[in-house]
Subunit: 166 residues, 2 copies
């Protein structure tokens, strides 16, 4: 169950992100994907999946790639009028990027107990000392996302559980 | 005074980073710059300054750009054998990127009381729950870095103090 009320585009776009995440798994990437859309219209500005292994890039998490693409599409580093959809709870780097980009809304699927920085290890997005805050909507298609991660890690090296902090 | 003993390349490369930061200020960017070098040899793999405004990219902090360049140069997302030099205390996003990239050493100049995530608001790099830890060396040419930031913000909109969290 989601933690708060969703907008009409959130579920279908989370479904689309899960499809992207499945494609990432097929390429040997931890299956996480993200979409940025304009909140008012549902217009998709960016979609990306994790590319750390393919690009040998430690920064190439899905959220980072989607945020960059969206900023490029808008010609502005401020994404206040946008929603970020992501299949897994963001890590510290990505939570910081969400704050830096002033994202208006954040919706995600499964929690990440090992590395998640928005409810699990930290609550970065709600830190009142920072100059931007956004309360994330959590648990949207969470079981689908967690199952995808479990299946990926089980296939790769035995059941080590979901999470990206490997 | 630095918080711990420096290696021979740390000071000259911090000087070089400060020059890069000065060039960034001339382009209207908050003056922060970073260098990644191979710890054993001093070989510089990457250097970058903040490009958020020029690129309209919320991710384009100096550390992120330098980490990506260094990973590309090595063909590996793991930077355990590298040192990151940065003129200002990293923000949450950049501290998370340092952990994700497994950086072996981190050396920085001024603290950032408003947005710093390695000693000011958080101590991300020393969090034992994460799968990589690195104790940063702080205070290296800190006054030069802080003076550069003060001068930049004073010139731009009156004295609002140092920091990147604007």
């Amino acid at each position: 169950m989601p933690s708060a009320e969703c907008l009409p585009h959130d579920y279908p776009l989370m479904q689309r992100a899960l499809e992207r995440a499945r494609e990432a798994a097929a390429m040997g990437e931890v299956p996480v994907a993200a979409i940025v859309y304009e909140t008012a219209t549902g217009n998709v500005l960016a979609e990306a999946s994790n590319r750390r292994e393919c690009d040998a890039d430690p920064i190439a998490h899905a959220e980072i790639l989607a945020i960059r693409q969206a900023a490029r599409a808008l010609g502005d580093w401020r994404l206040n009028d946008c929603t970020l959809i992501v299949t897994l709870e963001p890590c510290i780097m990505c939570a910081g990027a969400i704050v830096n980009a002033r994202l208006g809304r954040v919706v995600y699927g499964a929690a990440d107990p090992k590395a998640g920085a928005t409810e699990s290890l930290y609550r970065i997005l709600e830190d009142e000392r920072l100059n931007h805050r956004v309360t994330p909507i959590t648990g949207v298609l969470a079981e689908e996302s967690a199952a995808l991660l479990r299946e990926f890690f089980r296939g790769r090296r035995g059941a080590r559980g979901a999470g990206r902090g490997d």
